[in-house]
Symmetry: C2
Subunit: 424 residues, 2 copies
């Protein structure tokens, strides 16, 4: 008997028929002898409907008082779905009880619309499990120290599920989603892309942060911090497939290094075409210059990704970085008005038509020449590399957007990702 | 400066446009210097939508565990509307904050779907009012001792508003509704029916229990118990009518006897055609017989209204009572199978085509001959009276349904209800 957490997304909860099917799946697990906690999202479309109503009525500039109301309104979406799922479970003949975040309670800070979980009290849930009940808990929300309802922001239900699994020391947290696992790269670009049976937490973190949309990155961080075994699997399999098959499906995100020993050097190819490149040319190479350039950008709440500063010539250097494409024009304007006059930089250049392609793999730690193999492959395809950034388990390059598919396919092939891994 | 509670029904909250108009009305009162608490219902149709989803998924026989979920789901309707109204008030430039029942908290017993309010903690609300905020509180719901969300049942938002007004010792509780006040009788039957400027709490209680649908009867009882001045007024007047006019519109339900001194003897004519009459004939006239007849009926959860037992002849009596028309067939069946065999009654007779017409007025206490004037009037119209029941401030008769309109019109005229009252 294990303690298992299931998380279901909005599509799985999209109609009473689908909720019934979720209840049947959970009942199958409960009848197999597992203690079950379920964290469902709001019914699909519901959070948008609620926020739409709220935005029609809200003041144009929303301060904390308005954001507090927004959270209280948005949180009701999940409060409805936990109640509905508990009823559907009771219809399956199970004892089931639902809790909103404030009832558990899931304690958070007071950053409305993007709160962070501080702690989860487990007494009430543990007592219910011991009494043989299935416990259904709202995702996406909690309670701050002043007794206000908070939400964790979009995708927060993944994080809630992992946090609950961590607090309860669950044996596994299963994230049911509309993909059937984590792939070596996007199958829409490389038809030969393979589903990974396992991926290390660190690789998953890189894949998530590099644009893979399978899991919200905060939920992966949380799983890493508390070492929660996390499995991503499909919610579209029939609810009545044998539990032994379901329990091994999808992709397991693991923390056990040795499980990965025989794995490939590179686990996956990630990409992101939602970035833009900006270069400040002819900057005097003196201490504090990076802060002088990036300080005003950060102050304007613009996220910066890759940052490159090369060695200087004649006391001048070029400073490049990438931002979200939506922030491109604003960043260029900001640099021209606030930064170049102060730093004495010669020029601000930019290119919004770039993409970032990355190879990710824990095996890179112990294998030399992985990065150079990447660069040679791109060179053979005639693709010019504009920027390079590396970490211990990934190498990213910024290239012209039009070469993205070509680069991803070439790298997928050269790192043997088309072939099943030895250990699998 | 006064402390005022406003209550708005689901129709008033039915769209973002209407919520904006509610916010404008509340803002007008706040700007006139009043401390404001607002209790809105769920957006019209929302509670039905939520309960519809729940009933699709719920087990056929709903025990406490299922009713608990039903309440948690239904309560979200009001949780959304308080948030939306708070945002709309903020858009009017007011400081506003919303609370769900569990946040105040409004404490109730654990009778899911029909809980009763036990107490309301006022510290948080009082601090907000002192800080100049408009406080918006969910109707219809509370929190039990185990931390579960409970609902008060249909119409519970009226009761919530009155309970909040009582707990806060508000100067007046204004119930905005789709009628513009309490009338001497239903204007659809008597076009000359007049709106009452004031009505005593006891008269209102009789009017409410006799089928007048203006206010939920529990809210009137609550107002009486805690002496909360209650005003019923129209939500369809433009929000920007002068506040002096609005503050005197509708009908004030009052507790001050002297205000009523100059009032008419009879304040209103109530009627109810949703009843059926049942007579158990030839019952032995012995102690305990009433309980033998009505005990099984009450055990079957059938509400009994008028009860008549006349003097006996030859040790036998006839025992009559009325039930809701929907319970008629079930009650007859029950009496025939369970009661007549035990009591030795001769026969069970019934008539579902009856109605009850009542004259209500606190002035009846000090005026003799009011009942006889009623009976004479009905006699002059050729209407046969089947049952009579009286209390200190009302006299009810059961008559053939087909005479209902005739009886109401005749009584409305003979008690001078077509004429403005002297004191008004």
């Amino acid at each position: 008997m294990a303690l298992i957490v299931h998380k279901y997304g909005g599509t799985s909860m999209g109609s009473t028929e689908r909720i019934r099917s979720v209840a049947q799946r959970v009942a199958k697990w409960a009848r197999a002898g597992h203690q079950m906690i379920v964290v469902p999202s709001a019914m699909s479309g519901e959070t948008n409907r609620l926020l739409g109503l709220a935005k029609e009525l809200a003041p144009p500039a929303m301060g904390p008082a308005a954001l507090r109301e927004l959270d209280a309104i948005a949180a009701t979406g999940e409060q409805v779905s936990v109640g509905l799922l508990a009823l559907a479970l009771q219809s399956q003949g199970l004892e089931a009880v639902s809790y909103s975040g404030w009832q558990v309670p899931v304690r958070t800070d007071s950053a409305f619309t993007k709160a962070r979980i501080a702690s989860i009290e487990d007494d009430r849930v543990r007592a219910d499990l011991a009494a043989g009940k299935v416990v259904v808990i709202t995702g996406f929300q909690g309670l701050d120290d002043e007794g206000n309802v908070t939400t964790l922001g979009r995708g927060g239900s993944d994080t809630s599920a992992v946090a609950v699994a961590a607090a309860m020391r669950a044996d596994e947290c299963l994230i049911y989603t509309d993909v059937d696992g984590v792939y070596t790269t996007d199958p829409r670009i490389v038809p030969e892309a393979r589903r990974l049976h396992t991926i290390s937490f660190e690789e998953m973190l890189e894949m998530a942060s590099l644009g893979s949309k399978v899991l919200q990155i905060r939920s992966v961080e949380f799983a890493g911090k508390y070492r929660v075994p996390l499995r991503v699997l499909s919610s579209f399999t029939p609810w009545d497939i044998p539990i032994e098959v379901e329990a091994k499906s999808g992709t397991l995100i693991t923390f056990e290094e040795d499980e990965k020993m025989e794995q490939a050097v590179v686990s996956g190819i990630a990409f992101n075409r939602d970035e833009a490149k900006i270069t400040v040319m002819g900057v005097p190479d003196r201490p504090g210059i990076a802060y002088q350039i990036l300080g005003p950008v950060a102050d304007a709440n613009i996220d910066i990704d890759v940052i490159i500063q090369n060695v200087s010539h004649d006391g001048k250097t070029d400073f490049s970085f990438t931002v979200n494409r939506g922030d491109y024009a604003r960043t260029i304007e900001l640099l021209k008005t606030q930064v170049t006059p102060v730093t004495g930089a010669a020029q601000v250049l930019g290119d919004p038509k770039i993409c970032k392609v990355s190879i990710v793999g824990i095996g890179m730690r112990s294998h030399v020449g992985v990065a150079s193999k990447m660069f040679r492959t791109l060179s053979e395809e005639g693709i010019n590399i504009q920027m390079i950034s590396t970490s211990e388990i990934k190498t990213s390059v910024v290239i012209d957007e039009k070469y993205m598919e070509l680069a991803v396919r070439a790298l997928h092939k050269v790192f043997d990702l088309d072939q099943p891994a030895v250990a699998e």
